[in-house]
C-alpha cells in the first residue's frame, strides 16, 4: 500500500508520552526509533558534557539505549517522566565510564567553565535566541557553587567524596548544594 506509507511519512506520526511508554513496554520497534529521534540529542548532550570525548560519548549513548530497551520494565511512570528516567540513566552510565580504569588518568580536573567552552563547539549550528545556554546558567552561580555542581552532577561524586576532595565539611557541601538549587530556581522561573 504505497499511498498509506506516503501518508504516514508525510504526517510523521508522533507518539505521545503515554503511547511511547506503551510501545516500549510492548517492545515495539517504533517506540525505540521515536525515542532515539526525539531524545538522542538531548541525552547525547548530557553524556558528552560528562565524558568529554565524542567517541566515548557515542559508546555510552549506545549502551544507554540498549539499557533503556532492556530494562524498560523497571521504569515506573508513577515516579516521574520518561525523560527524567532516561537522563539519569545516561548520566550514571557516563559517570561509570568516567570512573573506569584508564579514564581517570587522561581526564583532568576541568573547571566547569572549561567544560562549557569545549563542548559549545560541538553544538548544532542552529542557535535559538531563547536557548538557555549553560554559560549563562553557570554564571548565576558563585564559583564555589559551580565547582561543587560540577563534582556532584557531572563527575558523580557523592557528598562525602566532594567534601573530602574540596576539603570542606559535609554540612557545607549540603548547604552549598541547597543554595545552588535556590539560585537555579530563580533562573528558571
Amino acid at each position: 500500500m504505497p499511498l498509506f506509507h506516503y501518508v504516514l511519512a508525510k504526517n510523521k506520526i508522533v507518539l505521545s508520552e503515554e503511547q511511547l511508554v506503551d510501545a516500549l513496554r510492548n517492545r515495539q520497534r517504533i517506540g525505540m526509533e521515536q525515542l532515539y529521534d526525539r531524545y538522542s540529542a538531548a541525552l547525547f548532550g548530557v553524556i558528552i558534557r560528562i565524558v568529554q570525548t565524542e567517541e566515548i560519548a557515542e559508546d555510552v549513548l549506545q549502551d544507554a539505549f540498549v539499557k533503556i530497551w532492556d530494562s524498560f520494565g523497571s521504569y515506573d511512570a508513577s515516579k516521574g517522566r520518561l525523560f527524567t528516567w532516561m537522563v539519569n540513566l545516561c548520566r550514571n552510565l557516563a559517570i561509570d565510564k568516567v570512573r573506569s580504569k584508564d579514564f581517570r588518568n587522561h581526564s583532568k580536573n576541568q573547571d566547569i567553565e572549561d567544560n562549557v567552552t569545549a563542548i559549545d563547539s560541538f553544538k548544532n549550528n542552529t542557535y535559538k535566541p531563547e536557548t538557555i545556554g549553560m554559560k549563562e546558567l553557570v554564571e548565576t552561580l558563585k564559583p564555589e557553587q559551580k565547582t561543587l555542581i560540577d563534582l556532584v552532577y557531572f563527575k558523580g561524586y557523592t557528598h562525602v567524596e566532594a567534601a573530602e576532595h574540596l576539603d570542606i565539611p559535609l554540612g557545607t557541601v549540603k548547604t552549598r548544594i541547597r543554595m545552588s538549587i535556590i539560585e537555579l530556581r530563580k533562573f528558571f522561573n
Binding site: S40, E54, E58, G80, I181, I182
Partner: protein, 252 residues
C-alpha cells in the same frame, strides 16, 4: 510541605542525586501531598527543556549503530528460551521421555503382534489336536466295544476265486454295532467299493460300505444274522448284492 520544598530535595530527586533512602522519603512525600506532583512535573519539564537546549546531535551513522545493537537480541526472542539452562534441560528431558515412551510403545506393540500370531498358531494346533483326540476317542470306544465279552469275532473266509481275501467282523451283541477290520482285500478303483451284508432269514441286508484299507471301521447295526458276506459293489453300495462279486462269506 513548605520546608520540604525549600530543602531542595525535590530538585535533587529529579537530578537523580539522592540515595535510595532519600528517594523513598521523597516518594512518600509525593504520596502524602499530591500537590507536590505539580512542582515535580514543572521541574522535570525544566530539566528536559534545559537538556534539549543544550542538545548535541550525534553523527548520522550513530543512529543505525545504536538501533541495531538494541534490536540485536529482540530479533531472536526464541534465543532466550534456549539460553536458559533450566528450560533447556526441561525440554531435553521431555524429548528424551517422549522418545523412551515411543520405543516402549513400539516394543509393546511388537510384542502384542507376536503374541497374536502365537495365539493364532496355538489355536490351530489345538484344533488339530482336538480332532486327533476325537479320532482317538472314537478308536478307543471302538476297541472297548471289540474287547467286550459280548462281542463276537467273525473270521470271514475268502471264496474260491479270492483265497487270499481276509477280513474280520466284530459284532457287538449288546449294541449290535458291526466293526470290520480288513486284513487283506484286493484294491478297488474309484468306481467300486466293498459292501458288507448280513444274511437275515435268507435275505441279504446291507451292513455298510468300506474300503479295502479300512481297519476297525464301524459299520451299521445288525440285529440278527445267520451269515456275513462281502461283495464288490459300485461306489456307494447297492440294494442287493452282486453275487458274482462275492469275496468273503461266513456262516455263523
Amino acid at each position: 510541605m513548605k520546608e520540604f520544598l525549600e530543602s531542595g530535595m525535590l530538585e535533587l530527586y529529579v537530578a537523580g542525586l539522592l540515595d535510595a533512602n532519600e528517594r523513598a522519603e521523597v516518594e512518600a512525600m509525593l504520596l502524602k501531598y499530591p500537590e507536590l506532583r505539580k512542582e515535580l512535573q514543572e521541574m522535570e519539564s525544566s530539566l528536559e527543556g534545559y537538556a534539549q537546549a543544550n542538545a548535541v546531535r550525534p553523527k548520522e551513522d550513530v543512529r543505525e549503530r545504536v538501533l541495531s545493537k538494541v534490536f540485536e537480541k529482540a530479533d531472536v526472542p526464541v534465543l532466550s528460551i534456549w539460553t536458559n539452562p533450566t528450560v533447556r534441560y526441561a525440554i531435553a528431558a521431555s524429548i528424551a521421555l517422549v522418545l523412551v515412551m515411543g520405543v516402549a510403545l513400539l516394543t509393546v506393540f511388537t510384542n502384542y503382534k507376536q503374541q497374536e500370531t502365537l495365539i493364532s498358531l496355538l489355536k490351530d494346533q489345538n484344533a488339530v489336536l482336538q480332532h486327533e483326540i476325537s479320532q482317538v476317542a472314537t478308536k478307543v470306544s471302538m476297541l472297548e466295544s471289540i474287547r467286550k465279552p459280548q462281542t463276537c469275532k467273525v473270521l470271514l473266509a475268502g471264496l474260491e476265486k479270492y483265497p487270499n481275501a481276509d477280513a474280520v467282523v466284530y459284532w457287538d451283541n449288546e449294541s449290535k454295532m458291526v466293526t470290520i477290520d480288513c486284513i487283506h482285500l484286493p484294491g478297488t478303483d474309484k468306481e467300486h467299493q466293498y459292501q458288507l451284508w448280513a444274511l437275515v432269514n435268507g435275505k441279504p441286508v446291507d451292513a455298510g460300505v468300506f474300503q479295502e484299507q479300512d481297519s476297525f471301521r464301524q459299520l451299521k447295526k445288525v440285529d440278527a444274522a445267520q451269515a456275513f458276506a462281502v461283495t464288490l459293489e459300485p461306489m456307494g453300495g447297492s440294494v442287493n448284492p452282486t453275487m458274482d462279486k462275492m469275496y468273503l462269506y461266513t456262516q455263523l
